[in-house]
Amino acid sequence: MQMSGAQMVIEAFIAEGVETVFGYPGGAIMNVYDEIYKQDGFQHILNRHEQASIHAAEGYSKASGKVGVAMITSGPGFTNAVTGLADAYMDSIPLVVVSGQVPMSLIGTDGFQEIDAIGISRPCTKHNYLVTDAADLPRILKEAFYIARTGRPGPVHVDIPKDVTAQIAEFDYSVELELETYKPHVKGNPRQIKKAMDAIANASRPLFYLGGGIINSNAADEVREFVHKCGIPAVETFMARGVLSFDDDLLVGMLGMHGSYAANMAMSETDLVIGLGARFDDRVTGKLSEFAKNADVIHVDIDPASISKLVNADYPIVGDLKNVVTEMLQQIEKIDADNYESWRDSISNFAELHPLTYHEDSDRLKPQWVIERVGQLLGDDANISTDVGQHQMWSAQFYPFSRPRQFISSGGLGTMGFGFPAAIGVKAAAPEKTSINFTGDGSILMNVQELMTAVEKKIPVINIILNNNFLGMVRQWQTLFYDKRYAETDLSVQPDFVKLAEAFGGIGYRVKTKEEFDAALKDAVEKNVVAFIEVIVERLENVMPMVPAGGSLFNMMLLEKKETK
């Protein structure tokens, strides 16, 4: 069928089952927006900044497991989106991002709103395309979706010059993809799997090290079954929160810079790391030479480049986790859960020695209490997004996650301003769940304009602003490592967050006590409109435990012992 390049974009989205597109129009992408206006195959959500469009698409993708889609214009529209692309690339989030470009005849002339978009997006996308002929568009769009969601997922950027969106060509989306150079491994090597299972059977202190790849692979059910049948304790990375339920006896906790004492000690004492879809990030390992020093390493990952990148893998297995873990379950009879009983006991002792907790020793609310409280009140009924900073770490530590895709946060890139737009995308993907964004008084201002998006589209995200009048995480480092020289982290000068929410047509609360917080949350859930709940919290609370950057995992700064909580 003959149609314009712009129509092809619409038809391809519909053929891919796209239901929601996030974006912002502009000159070079107007032909495509004109077709969006005419169609009713999907909804378009207008964010108020292109960065927010990408984060919303990320949130949508993480909550739904589908490819997130965003559309932006050339020049500044595109450059605004770069942070989002980089964020999605670091956290392996499948996105297709379509940008407008100046017409072909103007490329290279420094035309109005021209920038070398694919030159900029190259290092922060899985792949990208500049479309020079509308006849290529059906194949390119189909490849883009395929590449985004297969293998190690990631963002794919398609840059389309304005004249190509107007060009008429044949559209046939049934074209077979011929990607001779892209063939992701799916099945793990059976011999390696057998060797790994033997290693588990022979280990005395094995430890599961669960990563975000489990969620990408939709393998949480298989992993839960595997962990339980093995009777082997498990630690989760930040990205893997919710793979095991918070109340799972075998879940030791989150490891890493702000991991629990028990999780970090378990990793330091183990004799066999069973890494599933995790990438040994520096925030996880601390000092590499001391990381799991006496352990062999099994590493299952779909990305060969992640294996033996930082920590040498004795049992490397390249493959899709769901596949590999299913294969491993076939040999489960090799493993006797009783063998690990004393190991489980010693981990319980770690947990009893320094449990993950906090002290209620301030006149002000403790931020950790707020997060725990939301967990008590909403639990499984909420999806939790966060911004970046102390509140993010406390969310990962204290919220009772019970399922994968419940926790949506910017892990690898650490993008302040991620949370609110992501929570909008999460709500669009999962309207039946309450969408909470835990944020700070620093982060929320980085995409605060999304109040308008949420009001216009009636997307009732509840932003819980843990307000300590500081850029808290940087302040924490200044306290600990810079002799309390608080360079540019004091945020005492602030907007009135209640009025700010109201100015956009949302609802605002300022709370200082537990009773006020409960009432505000209840009211916000009932009113079902976008809300700011500003919680005045203790100013100088630190995230503990903490492994100083570059330190060994077992050398943690710990919460001082007190008779409170």
């Binding site: 694919i118 190259r122 892209y182 060969p304 480049a305």
Partner: protein
């Protein structure tokens, strides 16, 4: 065991399409890998091109380089060579007043010859293993070379 930062030759077969070269060089610069030389040309009768990259790094770095190259979508194959035939070409411009028979003899020793004679300069060409090209270039220093250009290495597995 290979010493750290040993010289290695990596060949990469890529789809011959726009911006593929910058994907490769971006990867090297973005991840802090080193490129000593890089040659690229289309493979006859195919849609592919072959790059020969001379790089240096520890075993782990070289392994990462090959894996990261493989991750690029247009990359078909990556060879990290062990046993190879490797050649490089150099062109050198000399003043015509230098001793031409000496230069010619040296060129012949390094698998080359004088390829162009002008009014004021001659151009000599050699094609040999990169290490030997290096030797040639140091041997001809006394003949006042005016310009030197090296092609970078190309390699084939034996």
């Amino acid at each position: 065991m290979i010493e750290s930062n040993e010289r290695r030759v990596v060949s990469v077969i890529v789809v011959n399409e726009a911006s593929v070269l910058s994907r490769i060089t971006n990867l090297f610069s973005g991840r802090g890998y080193n490129i000593t030389s890089l040659t690229v040309a289309p493979i006859p009768d195919s849609k592919y091109s072959r790059l020969t990259i001379v790089t240096a790094g520890s075993v782990r770095v070289i392994e990462q380089i090959t894996k990261q190259l493989h991750k690029l979508i247009p990359v078909l194959r990556v060879y990290e060579h062990e046993d190879i035939v490797e050649k490089e070409m150099a062109l050198v411009k000399f003043p015509i007043t230098e001793n031409l028979s000496d230069i010619n003899t040296l060129c012949e020793a390094y698998n080359g010859k004088i390829v162009n004679v002008g009014d004021t300069v001659i151009i000599a060409m050699v094609a040999d293993e990169p290490r030997r090209v290096e030797n040639f270039l140091s041997a001809i220093k006394r003949y006042n070379p005016k310009e030197i250009v090296r092609s970078g290495a190309v390699a084939l597995e034996r």
